[in-house]
């Protein structure tokens, strides 16, 4: 048996099985979305594949009753952990009225739910980073013990809004966790053409904050880093910048063809480090994930995705005239 790493982090076997199941569910939802897209049933998909470990590891380290998240479009793992369901995600994929994110107004991947403490997201990258800082400021003004958590790609870490927001949080020592999901590409542009620094976390010092780079394929490493960042934030030590390194396993989106800019074997190579599989191996190696449990989980996830798809496909669209509503308070 391998070393048990999760106990050392205070995670029970149930915890890690839950984490694993959430990662797997994220993957299965995503895979289904692609199938539906290729079958012409939904116009667009943008994937979490390859980043589930970082997303779920991070979200588990947060307080889901108190913390607020401002995720980005790949964060199926984050929103599932925060209580969104596969059905919600499918409703969004099919753009149906019941979609809790936007009532079908936005593309999939544009998460948001007040009930679940998920700030509504748009498409222009990195605007949410400022919102996370603002929510943290609001939390402090209201005297709440909470942190905010926001994610973005490494390409997006070059946007002005990242800089201004990180600096603001640093100056005001706000309880914000900035997590950069470095998946090596911004659409077709490899990280070396996006950034000249070695690690995105090298930017932390410029904001007087803690910075750290961890293996984004390892949910436990990410969990540990975010947990510590949360503790620092709660202790009043201000924000942190955590970078998770993984790899984007799919094309950028269903509109992309990645064969034009990266080699197939690069992708194959990366698949060997796919967190969904390596975490399963770890759980097997420490005797937590038995064969029986594993197939139970797989079945549960598949059933869940099947039912979600069926429900969402059958659900009605919003009425055309409903497009006129909610421009202003009504």
């Amino acid at each position: 048996m391998s070393e048990n790493r999760h106990q050392a982090l205070g995670l029970t076997d149930e915890d890690v099985l839950n984490m694993y199941e959430t990662m797997l569910l994220a993957r299965k939802v995503d895979e289904r979305m692609w199938k539906l897209n290729r079958a012409g049933k939904i116009p667009f998909v943008i994937s979490c594949q390859g980043q589930e470990a970082a997303q779920v590891g991070a979200a588990y380290a947060l307080n889901r009753e108190k913390d607020v998240v401002a995720p980005y479009y790949r964060d199926i793992g984050v929103v599932l952990t925060f209580g969104m369901t596969a059905q919600d995600l499918m409703l969004s994929g099919f753009a149906k009225a019941e979609d809790p994110n936007s009532g079908g107004r936005q593309m999939p991947g544009h998460f948001g739910s007040k009930a679940l403490r998920i700030l509504t997201q748009s498409s222009p990258v990195t605007t949410q980073v400022a919102h996370a800082v603002g929510a943290a400021l609001a939390g402090r003004l209201k005297g709440e013990e909470m942190v905010t958590f926001t994610t973005f790609g490494e390409g997006s870490s070059n946007q002005g809004d990242f800089h201004e927001s990180a600096n603001f949080a640093g100056v005001h020592k706000l309880p914000v966790i900035f997590m950069c999901e470095n998946n090596q590409y911004a659409i077709s542009v490899p990280v070396q053409k996006q950034l000249a620094c070695e690690r995105v976390s090298d930017r932390a010092i410029g904001y007087g904050m803690f910075g750290e780079t961890v293996d984004g394929n390892d949910p436990l490493a990410v969990y540990a880093a975010i947990k510590k960042a949360r503790e620092r934030a709660i202790r009043g030590e201000g924000p942190s910048l955590i970078e998770t390194i993984s790899y984007r396993l799919t094309p950028h989106s269903s509109d992309d063809d990645d064969r034009s800019y990266r080699a197939a074997d690069e992708v194959e190579e990366a698949k060997k480090r796919d967190g969904v599989f390596t975490f399963a191996s770890y759980l097997e190696s420490v005797g937590v994930l038995t064969e029986g449990k594993s197939s139970e989980i797989v079945e549960r996830c598949e059933k869940c995705v099947d039912e979600a798809t069926e429900y969402a496909e059958a659900a009605p669209y919003a009425e055309p005239e409903s497009a006129l509503h909610y421009v202003y308070e009504e």
Partner: protein, 327 residues
């Protein structure tokens, strides 16, 4: 009723609202100890403390974006942009985010933020401290744009903006700050956003305008009254979305319409006013809809003769009104 300056009305509204509701806080550049470069937030830092009157770093996009985040999470921020000209780095946060959050979340999230900014010319501010920038935002459903002319309206509209559950851009004419004085009650009151107001009743020509130019029009109207020309003056007050009913009514009233702005002519918000009138008052008009505006040059130059050339003033308004009356 006490007579107050335009900027005193700003400060008073902020003060009263912050006292009323502790969800309201201020953020911006130099708004704290300094009380703002124009002193609009003077005394608030001393009264409400550092936590509620926040000197931010010099970053407009973050001022807007952090404000939006705080507004989503239950606060009511009042953000100051030091000059309206410097709101431009924040356009993405304002247009892509503030304006669209209620809509895109299907009414789940809201952004009760007020963004104040001093705009306008005639202060030797040159290209980048004189601009009218309402036109940039006046095509974005989800936003409201308020541009008051009198201290009374300033207080009432700023309170309404702060209490609004939607984002409001509140543009204050910086030359009006100390130039324009008027009665401002001590009592709590609001003036409704989205409603224009007839500032003078008249029969011969209708002038529609907003901000400092309302006073130019009123002055011109006094002069013309001596000549027997009676002017009807509508203060738009909210320039987006426009008060269509009031516009149509005021246009129909005299059948002769002069639209005035100190912004450039092409693409300014008075073009939309003209379009509304052209669409709805076809049978009421007795003359072409006239526009008086700044020339279509990028912004006001610094050298006094050039600035004067750009700026509208009571004489230019009077001249345009007389021409129209005589049409």
């Amino acid at each position: 009723m006490p007579v107050r300056s335009y900027i005193e009305a700003v400060t008073l509204a902020l003060h009263e609202e912050m006292q009323r509701d502790d969800k309201i806080f201020i953020l911006g550049e130099d708004v704290g100890v300094r009380g703002g470069v124009f002193r609009a937030t003077t005394g608030l830092y001393e009264k409400f403390g550092e936590a509620r009157v926040i000197d931010t770093p010099l970053t407009e996009s973050a001022i807007a974006g952090v404000g939006i985040g705080a507004a989503m999470y239950g606060m009511r921020p009042v953000a100051e942009m030091q000059f309206a000209d410097f709101i431009l780095p924040a356009v993405n946060q304002i247009v892509s985010e503030a304006a669209k959050i209620r809509y895109r979340s299907n009414n789940d999230w809201t952004v009760p933020i007020t963004i104040r900014a001093p705009y306008g010319g005639g202060v030797h501010g040159a290209l980048y401290h004189s601009q009218s920038i309402e036109a940039i935002f006046a095509s974005q459903p989800g936003l409201k744009i308020v541009m008051p002319s009198t201290p009374y309206d300033v207080k009432g509209l700023l309170k309404a903006a702060i209490r609004s559950d939607d984002p409001v851009l509140f543009f204050e004419h910086k030359r009006a700050y100390r130039l324009i004085k008027g009665e401002v009650p001590d009592e709590d009151y609001t003036v409704p956003i989205g409603k224009a107001e007839v500032k003078r009743e008249g029969e011969d020509v209708t002038v529609m305008t907003y901000g400092l130019a309302v006073h130019f029009a009123l002055q011109a109207a006094e002069k013309l009254a001596e000549e027997g020309i009676s002017a009807h003056i509508l203060d738009l007050r909210t320039v987006y979305p426009l008060d269509k009913e009031a516009i149509i009514e005021a246009a129909a009233k005299t059948g002769k319409v002069l639209l005035v702005t100190e912004d450039n002519k092409e693409g300014g918000i008075i073009g939309e006013v003209a379009a509304i009138i052209a669409e709805h008052c076809f049978f009421d008009l007795d003359a072409p809809i006239q526009r008086l505006a700044g020339p279509d040059i990028p912004a006001m130059p610094y050298a006094p003769p050039l600035e004067k050339f750009f700026m509208i003033n009571p004489e230019k308004v009077e001249h345009a009104m007389r021409e129209l009356a005589e049409f």
